[in-house]
């Protein structure tokens, strides 16, 4: 048997698969039984099983962004309670502080120690987004300037003591949100998921024996580390740099800068974020733990193996962030829209490496969650309502194909939009249009995907509109001479006036007012003149682009009957090639 491993590779693999499957079971349990659509629909959650050193054994995450930092929360909790010897069987801890957990306060992390024969052998942990944790505005705000406006801040807090719920503490937490019943439902779903993880971990130990499991875990970590090392080593050594901007932080008009410098030498990858904007008054700040997680996501997208991540990964990846930047925020920075910054960070890392990873990379996608949030009182149903939806957009072209149209952004993973028929039945809203946005995909040999056009009509008075649309300054860029996709746009149409805006907080709408949202397209990949004229013609026939765009961007000449003029096209492309 191979010298560097301590266990038989077959046993190791069986145990590795069992951990992955146990985590999937936890996730299934959580998603299917939670109360918030944002968890069961959007899968805004993550679960994992860890060994006693808080190293990851198996995880399942609904959002890519949650790839790696539950381990950090466990370590912080152990430290907070004065060492892991202070855990008792049946204890459960809860936390959400942005500067510890890295994300926004809505993300609630639950940690449960796992005991076997009265000895602590590991942890199960879950994180899920609660609808409301008491921010100054329902759900979350668009313009908070301090974390205290974003909801209740919770350090690692014991909510179950040796199997008994601490009702006072749980009430203190859940009474600080607007939807207590929903919070309690989600809390129970998270606890049930932790119990599932615990049960499966103990079964794995009983099936194989603790020593074998511990040896296999060491081997699993070694495998992960080797795979990372090989993958990094296969990229040419060098320094790769990029920068990009968010439009603003929602409070001032000043753009937010993110700068990355990647250094690859041998099996090592250094990511240096020096030069990134200092922490801002608005909500685009983010805790350092989550910045690290985002760098891991970019790595997983481009470089990493398809095999699920473990505690052995990322050993040769070093991340440096100076203190008090928007990516390493400290009290009292507001962190509600942390993922706008991280979405850009991930895109920039991909762009930085695109020259050396042409086949794996893709031109940029439309970039952010593009959230519309409408709230008010439904006079027909006699109850308050809150509608929140991220909007899909176009993804970037890549070496093998066009980018996908109308697909949810990177940060939102497998999120599903709400069917119009369900939306109109549940909310005092009507949708007038939901379609692709013509000409919004960046031109390229492989075209960027199209953004979305969606128009809402308000069917009751006194509705408050919140918007968070981003990336108009840095719309989805193209690669290898491909062009950028169209930037986003939102138009609010009132009876007598019409106004364009991208971000707003508490903008008053009345019955009959309309909000038209348009999301950006993806970037193009390769020069548009290299796109086959017949493919361009197909795009025109299908209405993805119009005749004008075919001519201006792709140099393709079509006559009135939509026949291709090959000679003119050839001539035009020759004379206008840039």
């Amino acid at each position: 048997m191979n010298q560097i491993f301590s266990e038989n590779p077959v046993t190791t693999e069986i145990i590795r698969n069992a951990f992955v499957s146990a985590a999937e079971e936890m996730n299934e349990s959580l998603a299917r039984s939670s109360f918030s659509p944002i968890i069961y629909e959007m899968k805004d959650c993550s679960v994992g099983i860890f060994n006693e050193k808080a190293e990851l054994l198996g995880q399942s995450s609904g959002l890519p962004m949650f790839l790696g930092n539950l381990d950090e929360c466990i370590k912080l909790t152990s430290e907070y309670i004065g060492g892991e010897e202070n855990y008792k069987p049946g204890d459960i801890y809860l936390m959400n502080d942005s500067y510890l957990a890295g994300t926004h306060l809505n993300d609630i992390t639950i940690i449960s120690p796992i005991f076997y024969h009265n000895k602590i052998v590991g942890f199960s942990a879950t994180r899920a987004h609660w609808m409301d944790v008491g921010a100054k505005d329902p759900g979350s705000s668009m313009n908070a300037t301090e974390i205290y406006q974003e909801g209740i801040r919770i350090p690692p807090t014991r909510i179950y003591e040796q199997g008994r719920p601490r009702k006072d503490v749980i009430d203190l937490i859940t009474m600080n949100g607007r939807f207590q019943e929903s919070s309690l439902g989600d809390l129970n779903a998270q606890i049930a998921a932790c119990k599932t993880g615990e049960k499966r971990y103990v079964e794995i130990i009983e099936n194989h024996g603790l020593t074998t499991v511990n040896n296999a875990v060491l081997d699993i970590f070694k495998q992960s580390e080797m795979i990372d090392r090989e993958n990094i080593a296969s990229i040419p050594d060098g320094i790769y740099e990029e920068k990009g901007y968010l439009d603003n932080d929602g409070v001032s008009d000043e753009p937010v800068l993110i700068k990355v410098k990647l250094t690859i030498y041998g099996e090592n990858l250094d990511i240096n974020l020096t030069g990134t904007s200092l922490q801002r008054q608005g909500m685009t700040n983010c805790g350092k733990a989550q910045t690290i997680s985002a760098c891991r996501v970019a790595f997983k997208h481009l470089i990493g193996s398809k095999t699920p991540v473990t505690g052995g990964n990322f050993k040769t990846m070093n991340i440096f962030v100076p203190d008090k930047t928007i990516l390493s925020a400290q009290e009292p920075a507001a962190c509600g829209w942390y993922f706008s910054s991280l979405g850009l960070l991930i895109d920039l890392i991909i762009k930085a490496l695109s020259n050396v990873l042409q086949d794996q990379c893709a031109a940029a996608h439309y970039g952010d969650s593009m959230v519309i949030n409408l709230s008010g009182f439904d006079s027909k149903e006699h109850k308050p309502f809150l509608y929140v939806e991220p909007t899909a957009g176009g993804w970037g072209g890549f070496s093998a194909n066009d980018g996908q149209s109308g697909l949810i952004n990177n940060a939102n993973g497998d999120f599903k939009n709400m069917p119009v028929e369900v939306l109109e039945s549940k909310y005092p809203l009507k949708v007038n249009t939901y379609s692709l946005r013509q000409n919004s995909g960046g031109a390229g040999k492989n075209r960027g995907g199209l953004g979305i056009l969606k128009e809402y009509e308000i069917c009751t008075d006194n509705v408050l509109l919140n918007l968070w649309f981003e990336r108009s300054l840095t719309p989805a860029w193209g690669l290898f001479n491909g062009e950028a996709g169209a930037p986003p746009n939102v138009t609010v149409q009132k009876v007598e006036s019409s106004q364009s805006m991208l971000k707003t907080n508490g903008y008053l709408l009345n019955k009959g007012d309309k909000v038209k949202v348009e999301t950006g397209g993806g970037g193009g990949f390769g020069h548009p003149f290299d796109r086959s004229p017949n493919t361009v013609l197909d795009d025109v026939k299908d209405g993805y682009i119009d005749v004008e765009e075919a001519f201006q961007k792709y140099g393709v000449v079509l006559n009135e009957k939509l026949d291709l003029d090959e000679e003119q096209t050839h001539y035009h492309r020759q004379t206008n090639l840039k």
Binding site: M1, E25, Q223, S425, T433
Partner: protein, 679 residues
């Protein structure tokens, strides 16, 4: 004179035929190569092997892949789609989700319709079913002109809120019928009367897309069987686990999508009834595939949230989970670790031992190296397996791991078995049932080869290997009844729901279903109806389907319904909220038409099967090579138990029995296998 019942199951490689002779009480089976260019040929060839004239056949059922193939190969109708103005891209955007969350090059699968053939009409219904914008005839006529110009032969119509008010869909069909009588029209509310526009559109489109192909195929088969004097109806196996006549199948071809594999699940249900087993896991494994379905409380697990290539299908289907760890799963090495799957060699090139230039080591190759399969291949197919190629590819993996070839082969099988067990555990637990409460039914050429290993890992103590394991889906089709499902979306909290409306909707579905059962000549006394509703806690998305205790909605049985819901929620999810507000979402009705089956088996009448003196060969068991007896199933004495290790070859599969298992051949010809000390 009615003497025979016959079933045919068209598979990717072979068409299986099973014939039951009521006079002798015996079954005969035959296999014939499938004929993709005209599937009815393969069916008739197989039938011919068993019986030359069909006049004494009173039940002819079959599972067809005609629709599924047309879908997978994108060889369906030339489609057009009519949608509400403003919603042209309902089908293209779908739910906008990205299931592969670490893939920045994600693409949706190829759609069944081009965007240029999607038309919008200016009309609008609101959520409450009221008309917001009336239809405009002139505009529809213009669309009809374009459809004519482009020579499109199929139109799907899916308008917003048509589940609540279908008048506009009906009106458009009326106009199309008038001007284009030869174009087939599918209306979303007729295919599935449930909310969620993308899912309904996708279901309607798949139905319309495969309709002409299924129809052509059924007509051909109908003609050919009539030529052979078949006097009775031609029945088609449905995805929902029931059968329907060919006439009905032409209207809802989407119900033929999973026609073949479902037969196995229904067969499993029958095995469960015979042996008094409530919960069964059905494992159907071929050389390159692995499908799992479940029977819970004696009923097949049916879902109305199925997907094919990520396209949703809302019509009820037996839940068949294709697990990426079948015989075709590829073994590979990463970071010094051994992995199996999720990539599969598929059937082309297939495992290295297929001799089709497959270069990767697969689970089937490992089985061959271990001696668990003979190089004669999966018995009764004519395929020869190439041992040398299998050995070579496994050896390559072994070298990278510094293990012996045998250790590697056994490791590959162990990992695959563990992965299959893990996947099955997740499935059963998501139904709120511990896998240890299940029995395992294994069939398909390779199912009985892995069943005992999987059962052991799941803590399952009882495994059933049906006598016709290799043609089990076809056998299962002989055990079915007619079935028809219907649905109406009705959204209300339980406190506010209106019994009158609910009774009206149930009555509407009952009338429609009666009509369909009538067309299939089911007399009233043989009709069984189940009234169901989809419930959830207010605010939840997922629903739980709960049966109503009687055929009439009353305050009293609504109370029961709520109690049952809380209980079922607790069973499935491990918690409930008896104080929580309960919401009703859909009403469902299942109508069954009971068919006469009268077929207690007296075993198989197989001309090739005769007892031969048992032989032996070396087989690897837990890394040790042991001379192992290979029995033919005809060597076994009924009702006498035998202990593993051993290998039993049946007419259509190989049963691998490790040492801790006890085997009994029961009187129907099935093998009942139990784990020792666990009986």
């Amino acid at each position: 004179m009615s003497r025979y019942r016959i079933a045919a199951d068209i598979g990717g490689t072979f068409t299986d035929v099973v014939l039951y002779d009521k006079q002798t009480g015996k079954y005969q089976t035959a296999k014939s190569p499938s004929t993709p260019e005209d599937l009815s040929l393969g069916v008739l060839n197989g039938v011919n092997k068993l019986i030359s004239n069909l006049k004494d056949v009173d039940f002819f059922v079959h599972g067809t892949t005609a629709g599924l193939n047309a879908f997978l190969e994108r060889k369906g109708a030339d489609m057009s789609l009519i949608l509400t103005k403003g919603f042209k891209d309902i089908y293209e955007i779908g739910r906008a989700n990205r299931p592969e969350i670490y893939n920045i090059q994600y693409r949706q699968p190829k759609r069944l319709i081009e965007r240029r053939d999607v038309f919008e009409v200016n009309e609008r219904m609101l959520a409450d079913g009221s008309v917001d914008t009336p239809l405009n005839e002139e505009e529809v006529l213009k669309i009809i002109d374009t459809i004519t110009e482009r020579g499109l032969n199929s139109v799907s119509i899916c308008l917003l809120h048509a589940y609540n008010n279908p008048e506009h869909e009906k009106q458009i069909r009326h106009w199309i019928n008038e001007y284009l009588p030869h174009v087939s029209v599918s209306l979303s509310h007729e295919i599935v009367r449930e909310w969620r526009e993308y899912e309904r559109t996708s279901t309607t489109i798949i139905n319309a897309y495969i309709a002409p192909i299924v129809e052509r195929y059924l007509k051909k088969l109908d003609d050919e069987t009539k030529k052979k004097d078949l006097d009775s109806e031609l029945y088609i196996m449905q995805s929902n686990g029931g059968v329907m006549t060919a006439e009905i199948a032409k209207k809802i071809p989407i119900q033929t999508m999973m026609s073949g594999p479902v037969g196995g699940t229904i067969g499993g249900t029958e095995i469960g009834q015979t042996n008094k087993l409530q919960h069964l896991i059905c494992v159907d494994m071929g050389g390159t595939s692995f499908d799992v379905s479940m029977i819970v409380n004696g009923q097949p697990d049916v879902t109305s949230e199925a997907k094919l290539e990520k396209f949703p299908i809302m019509t009820p289907m037996v839940n068949i989970h294709t697990i990426g760890a079948g015989g075709g799963s590829i073994a590979w090495v990463e970071g010094g670790g051994l992995r199996v799957g999720p990539e599969s060699a598929g059937s082309n090139p297939g495992p290295a031992c297929y001799g089709n230039n497959g270069k990767e080591a697969t689970v089937t190759d490992a089985n061959l190296v271990l001696g668990r399969i003979d190089s004669e291949g999966f018995s009764s197919s004519d395929m020869q397996l190439d041992y040398r190629s299998a050995y070579n590819v496994i050896e390559k993996v072994a070298e990278k791991l510094d293990l012996s070839v045998v250790e590697t082969a056994e490791g590959i099988c162990d990992i695959a078995n563990a992965k299959m067990a893990d996947a099955i555990r997740t499935l059963t637990i998501s139904k709120g049932i511990d896998p240890r409460d299940f029995a395992l039914v294994a069939f398909g050429g390779a199912g009985p080869m892995h069943a005992m290993f999987i059962a052991e890992k799941l803590g399952i103590n009882k495994i059933m290997i049906p006598s016709m394991a290799g043609t089990f889906s076809a056998w299962g089709m002989l055990q079915t009844d007619i079935r028809h499902d219907d649905v109406r979306t009705y959204v209300s909290t339980m406190e506010e729901c209106d019994n009158g409306i609910m009774n009206r909707l149930y009555h509407e579905m009952k009338t429609d279903t009666d009509k369909i059962l009538n067309q299939q000549k089911i007399s009233e006394k043989d009709r069984v109806f189940t009234y169901l509703s989809d419930l959830r806690y207010a605010g939840q998305e997922y629903t739980v389907t709960v049966p109503l205790s009687s055929n009439e909605v009353t305050n009293q049985n609504l109370k029961h319904l709520i109690t049952d819901f809380h209980e079922k929620h607790l069973n499935i999810y491990g918690h409930n909220n008896p104080e929580g507000q309960v919401e009703i979402v859909n009403l469902r009705l299942t109508g069954k038409g009971l068919l006469k089956k009268e077929q207690r088996s007296k075993g198989i009448d197989n001309k090739n099967g005769r007892a031969s003196s048992p032989r032996s060969k070396p087989v690897i068991w837990k890394s040790v090579e042991k001379e192992t007896t290979i029995y033919s199933i005809f060597d076994l004495t009924p009702n006498k138990s035998a202990l593993g290790p051993m290998i039993i070859e049946t007419s259509s599969s190989t049963v691998v029995v490790p040492e801790d298992f006890n085997v009994v051949l029961d009187s129907s010809g099935s093998l009942e296998i139990t784990r020792r000390n666990h009986t």
